[in-house]
Symmetry: D2
Subunit: 205 residues, 4 copies
């Protein structure tokens, strides 16, 4: 009766904090958890899941070619699998998460972004939204006071970057979590966003 | 402060009943609602939203080329817009729903399926999962006793039909709402489902 | 792994419709359900659960001295128990609902009001809020456009009745579901509510 | 359009972590938050809200005689009020929280336990369950693998303490968050719980 949970949100909502707290709750009761983190580069091996609020935990980093079901299956008994940055998963890997639940009967808590800077679903998010047993939003706030549900990519002048790779590494771009109405103002209506409205520089995408 | 709600489910969960009850709640308090229904054929005009449990209401039927924002905007003041069968919406039409919320400040309640018989998102569902303010599941039950989250298309012998058009009209196919584990058993593992496990013939897809 | 669900709301949110739809979903898949309804008078036996939207089903009516666990246990196998008007349950009866879940492993869906006309919890609601596995709100709307979460009892002039028995049978009182802010305006600030803002006469409390 | 949220849970679910993360999200976008913590002793003044996972923040501590509405009102503009340990609030103080929302239009996030060691609602929890706009569960796990929703108070031998003050300070008692079925086994059926099943000593109640 295990389930696959997709905890989705815009950026900087506290996904990693929620992941670490959930793992902590299991471990405090003497249970075992496995913390995984998806990566877009070719890293594999030991990593670190880190929350901006100041807590962290060792993790296993894997990339888009890894078979996550096999990875979990060979770890020995575990009470809960927690996966960070699941927007980067391939369709096949999301299916593997469902197999961990359906075949091994281990609950899986998957944390990731819903949409990219153009308002499109990431591949991992698309299939988690399709197949997860429970969709749970982690809420955060837009500088306008509304709930932030979108992510906009902006340049040095606070104007929306409208094209480019879905996943951009390096560069001067910044990401800001905003409400859908504010997203439209910046992305479609040529508005801009002032530096003071921008959250801290982010390294996590 | 209006919101776009996506009420998603497998088939036969009671989406239309929920839609009609919500509309009823508004009207009972003297407010106006507008009931729309998406269609895959070229109908436009007066229609009927009908629940299997025995209640119904007149509706406006539109197809995938209609501008829903314009349609609502010219109706005059309305307190709530309710849309059935939203899995059939185009990406542009889901965007129009967000405009009804963001520009006209009218709440929109959108009801539809999450995935098709191959486990893929419908276009309308994909963009509602991406852009809706609130994702709300309407739950139903699988014959195995688990929650049903998937829809399988079966032939006369109860075996999964694995390919074909996403939207099939006519024919002898039946659709059954099942849990993800049961879906895998039928779709991937060549299992079958007995007639007694099949819900009533459905005309609503 | 069955659960006790408490579906709570203000009046006229569609509780009974939701109950009937859920029962229908089970029965459509060949499963058995048991529909119970709590009563404040001394009726026991066959009754009728009826939704204002126009659907109904036979039920078993019981009062506050009935042992619901024993009642369900002697019915033979059943896949789901649905109980209407649970605000009228005694503390002991809510405990019996938890026993149906924990000992018989049958899911229980309990539907009722949260608060009375003075803003106090009903006894049944109090213990369901304390012990249910899942608390689920059925939303409805206030004539002000906000979500209605409170129930106010008003006299012929639309002014709040502030004292009296929690459960009043007969009389000219009317109940109106309103937002908390509107409740305060009428109940605490001596406001009144016009007939046009009053929902239809209600017989269900 | 602000709302009163009641985030309820058993002990050790991560309430304070959620509170601190939510406050952090606001502050990161340049907004002001006010962190309050209810106390059962007569402390008033500067305090510290502290999560077991290792994060903390200064707070204002108040006791059951404080007028929270007045306290917040004289603080100057603030974008969000977060209150820890709300199970200790009086009925009047919960009403004051609703006034912060309804009169000052400031969102209030209230975090607390649902039930005490005898399965009864705390006064603060009772009125938050009655009046909050949104009830949100923070989930945690029982050593049996089920969701923990109850709190049991145990002695040195792991047996349930069945009577005593609702709020006990000092002593050798321990509190364990357990599922309702496990609670019944220990509290009603004279079972016991082994030290290895007990979570770490807790100082937060």
């Amino acid at each position: 009766m295990a389930k696959l949970y997709f905890y989705y949100s815009a950026m900087n909502a506290g996904k990693t904090t929620h992941l670490l707290q959930s793992s902590h709750n299991y471990r405090e009761r003497g249970m075992q958890t496995l913390i995984l983190s998806s990566s877009i580069d070719d890293r594999f091996g030991r990593g670190l899941v880190k929350s901006r609020i100041g807590i962290e935990s060792p993790s296993i980093v894997f990339n888009q070619t890894e078979d996550i079901f096999a990875l979990v299956n060979k770890q020995g008994p575990v009470d809960c699998v927690l996966v960070d940055e699941v927007q980067f998963l391939s369709k096949a890997q999301v299916y593997q998460l469902t197999e961990i639940v359906d075949k091994l009967n281990i609950p899986v808590l998957a944390y990731g972004l819903r949409t990219d800077f153009q308002g499109e679903l990431f591949e991992g998010s698309q299939y988690l939204l399709a197949w997860a047993d429970e969709l749970r939003e982690l809420k955060t706030i837009c500088h306008t006071g509304k709930k932030a549900t979108m992510v906009v990519r902006i340049d040095d002048e606070g104007k929306a970057i409208k094209s480019g790779a879905q996943i951009q590494i390096g560069g001067n771009e910044r990401y800001v979590s905003v409400s859908r109405a504010e997203y439209k103002r910046i992305f479609h209506d040529e508005g801009s966003i002032k530096p003071s409205q921008i959250s801290l520089p982010l390294d996590d995408i």
